[in-house]
């Protein structure tokens, strides 16, 4: 056994570590007090991302996308000669740690917060943002109510209020489906909202939801659920989860005899891996997305080329483009402030981001002026073919929600 002396030393070391930790936090907090974000000749832009945990694939992509936007801005000379620094904090895919990460960034003195991919983490980040008067641009949080938390909460993605109805309208009007089943990932809030809005809109159009089954992300076996759904013989199946499970689900659906059912989904499908995991079963499926790599718009081509240069591959998920847009939007606001000769601080950034008009993002044009934080976005419906993703149809927000 150890001598008492040794563990006394260990204890002191631990306490020392604690003291340094608190100390470090306290000194770093100096910048936050002033509410300004210009430490020396740098402007700090904060990003909360899930670099650990089960959302890591999306978190990694959002880090890459945001970093690309910042690097480009710095290459082009930064803002009035000042460099922008992207400060990244990990949320470990967890709301409690995500809130700590946001608090940390706030006390480091960032002028704008970017992130998160998941709605639950964005929700607690929004609390911090509202408390600190710090603008927040959500990357992939599609939960509708988040932006109602304050005037300084924005997002670059569309909301579930658009995505679900778009797919419902597409399924009813364009594919002519009347009886549709739903499979929901019970563990993901994203999936549950999407299923709910889809169901509501599809039923209001006159369609029938013939069954809903559930699984939890991480599941491998879906034989039971699809066997049950096959009895209702749906003409289409709406899979609202993430691509990790959608591919295997598609295989299981075909395996249970639903060979003719059309498969539909949301932006959680977007990944080059879905064709790999779904194989022939997923081919012919349609999903709703923010953009598509086959689009002709210059923003898309430019983004994909630069992303490829920087990281040697196309973004693995749609979050690469969304995080790029979020960061670029914040940088655009900084540029406008600099051009007007205004100081770049939290209040001015909130106003500048809030007055964004027709910003040309990778995921389409973004207007935040007078929108309560939710840009009216275009929703793109993408078809999966053997060769890859092909844009099939696009909807403007007004087209769907106005009706």
């Amino acid at each position: 056994m150890f001598g008492k002396r040794t563990w006394w030393l260990t204890g002191v070391a631990a306490l020392g570590l604690l003291a340094v930790g608190c100390n470090g936090g306290a000194t770093a907090g100096g910048g936050g007090e002033s509410g300004g974000g210009e430490s020396g000749d740098e402007i700090l832009l904060g990003l909360v991302a899930s670099q650990n945990g089960d959302l890591k694939p999306w978190g990694d992509d959002s880090v890459r996308g945001a970093q690309l936007a910042v690097d480009q801005a710095n290459l082009a000379g930064g803002i009035d000669g000042k460099k922008i620094r992207l400060v990244i904090q990990d949320s470990n895919s967890d709301a409690t740690q995500g809130k700590s990460a946001a608090e940390k960034l706030a006390s480091d003195g960032v002028v704008t917060l970017l992130g998160e991919v998941a709605s639950s983490i964005t929700e607690v980040m929004a609390d911090v943002a509202v408390e600190k008067g710090l603008p927040l641009i959500a990357v992939g949080a599609t939960k509708t109510t988040i932006t109602t938390k304050g005037d300084n909460i924005f997002r670059v993605c569309y909301t579930d209020d658009l995505q679900g109805p778009v797919m419902a309208k597409f399924a009813y009007d364009d594919l002519g489906l009347r009886n549709v089943a739903i499979i929901t990932d019970n563990k993901q809030a994203y999936s549950k909202y999407l299923s709910e809005t889809f169901r509501k809109h599809f039923e209001s159009l006159g369609g029938k939801i013939v069954g809903e089954e559930f699984y939890e992300s991480g599941a491998v076996n879906f034989a039971g659920q699809v066997t049950k759904l096959a009895q209702a013989s749906p003409e289409g199946v709406f899979l609202s989860g993430y691509f990790n499970e959608v591919g295997p689900l598609a295989k299981a659906i075909r395996g249970a005899g639903m060979t003719d059912a059309k498969l539909l989904g949301g932006d959680g499908w977007d990944s080059r891996e879905i064709l790999q995991s779904g194989g022939d079963a997923i081919v012919g499926g349609y999903f709703c997305n923010h953009y598509n790599s086959q689009e002709d718009r210059p923003e898309v081509k430019d983004f994909l080329a630069k992303f490829n240069d920087a990281y040697g591959a196309e973004p693995g998920t749609t979050m690469g483009a969304l995080a790029f847009d979020a960061a670029a939007l914040a940088i655009d606001a900084m540029k406008r402030l600099a051009a007007e000769g205004k100081e770049i601080n939290r209040e001015n950034m909130t106003a500048a981001i809030g007055s964004t008009m027709d910003f040309k993002g990778v995921s389409g044009s973004i207007t935040l002026e007078g929108m309560g934080g939710n840009p009216p976005k275009r929703a793109l419906i993408v078809e999966l073919t053997r060769e890859g993703q092909v844009p099939a149809k696009s909807y403007e927000a007004a087209e769907v929600l106005g009706s």
Binding site: N52, G53, D54, K56, P57, W58, G59, D60, D61, D174, L175, G176, L177, R178, N179, N186, E213, F214, Y215, E216, G218, A219, V220, N221, A223, G224, Q225, T227, K228, A230, Q231, A232, S233, P234, E235, F243, N244, E245, G247, P248, K251, A252, R254, G255, A256, G257, D260, A261, S271, R272, E273, Q276, S277, G278, G279, D280, G316, T317, A392, K393
Partner: protein, 395 residues
């Protein structure tokens, strides 16, 4: 009063024509659980240690299968069109088992062996630490974002086998065939219209073209309706052939395990160590060797399960891939009586059946909870699990 509430439930409730299919699903799912549960139960039998890192060994097995399949040219980026063959599958299976066995042995040697004389709760925390280390550390070195998938092309057994227990009435089948013929005609006319209008995307058709499209969609719905009638009018069991491969492999591996444990000298020393670790070592059994072998066998079985699950379902791999199957298999092991090998198999099968039956009864949202509820109920009546002993023991 009670009856009125109950009746609609019955009307909307389980459909007995799918029961055989669901039981088969449950049996196959359970066989995989059993395979992983064996690793938990064997290690527990010898060391009285809950090896929480077992799920992570399973995860590494799935990754090994992925990397081997890439080496055979099944990577998404690799050129050419490799052919699926049983040989590739066999190499993947073997590689997963070997790598997992090695990983299991290394974990035991580095992390658990020094803890053997310590309290069991410290060993448990070490196991949790190893599990976290592999989950988070693995993500640094293994391809994880986007989560990769083993290509479906590697699987030569993807076609579906159908076993008909009660055939559908002939008139329903005829109706489906007629509907399909109608659909084929509509599809041809749609193709002609699209060619005539010169559009590639069916959503860009002119209003007249849209009518042709809608007629085709109506035909599709009719096919669906008639096919559905055939489906509900018959009782069949549909299985992708690869499920049968899984079942066969699991049975084969279990037979091999039974032979090893019951018929060989190593097996005898394993049983001795499991019965009484101290006395076994006094009797001249090299307990370190026995423990290593136990870990290797248990891990190899997990590797086999992982390879088959990852390859035949096509799930995306992350370093958290082993978390859920690991917990389920652990529950299965405890359900059967942890430390008891036949118990693990029984527990696995019960878990698999219970899950699929709860889906069948319409509670897929509570599928994962059902496993635990069964476990708790069983433990209340048999505190040592179904086949385990229940002597009092302190932590």
């Amino acid at each position: 009063m009670g009856l009125e509430l109950y009746l609609p439930l019955v009307a909307a409730g389980p459909d007995f024509s799918t029961l055989p299919q669901q039981l088969t699903n449950g049996l196959i799912l359970g066989s995989i659980y059993a395979l992983i549960a064996l690793g938990y139960t064997m290690v527990y039998g010898v060391l009285r240690l809950i090896n929480f890192a077992h799920g992570e060994v399973y995860m590494l097995g799935a990754y090994t299968a992925l990397l081997v399949s890439w080496a055979f040219g099944f990577a998404p980026t690799s050129p050419g069109d490799p052919k699926a063959s049983v040989l590739v599958l066999a190499v993947m299976l073997l590689a997963s088992m070997v790598v997992c066995a090695a990983v299991g042995a290394v974990i035991e040697y580095l992390a658990y062996r020094p803890m053997r004389k310590q309290s069991r709760i410290s060993a448990l925390i070490t196991a949790i630490g190893v599990s976290l280390l592999l989950q988070y550390g693995g993500a640094l070195f293994l391809p994880a974002s986007p989560p990769p998938t083993i290509s479906g092309k590697v699987d030569p057994f993807a076609s579906i086998a159908t076993l008909t227990l009660s055939p559908p009435p002939a008139d329903l089948v005829d109706a489906e065939e007629a509907a399909r013929a109608e659909l084929a005609a509509r599809e041809t006319s749609l193709e002609q219209t699209m060619e005539a209008e010169g559009v590639r995307n069916q959503f860009d058709l002119s209003p007249e073209g849209k009518e042709v499209l809608q007629a085709k969609q109506a035909a599709e719905r009719e096919v669906n309706r008639t096919a559905g009638a055939v489906e509900t009018g018959s009782i069949t069991i549909k299985l992708p052939q690869n499920r049968l491969v899984i079942l066969g492999t699991v049975v084969g591996l279990m037979a091999a395990l039974w032979f090893l444990v019951m018929k060989t000298k190593t097996g005898r020393s394993m049983r001795a160590a499991s019965h009484d670790f101290e006395s076994a070592s006094l009797m001249g059994i090299n307990v370190n060797r026995v423990v290593s072998i136990t870990f290797m066998i248990g891990s190899a079985l997990a590797g086999a399960g992982a390879m088959m699950n990852a390859t035949f379902t096509g799930t995306s791999l992350t370093t958290f891939y082993g978390l859920l199957p690991g917990v389920k298999a652990f529950v299965a092991a405890v359900l059967g009586g942890i430390g008891n090998i036949p118990g693990a198999v029984l527990g696995g099968l019960i878990m698999g059946l219970a899950e699929e039956l709860s889906v069948w009864a319409g509670f897929s949202g509570y599928k994962d909870a059902v496993a635990f509820i069964i476990l708790i109920v069983v433990l209340l009546f048999r505190p040592g699990g179904l086949l385990g002993s229940s002597k009092v023991e302190k932590v």
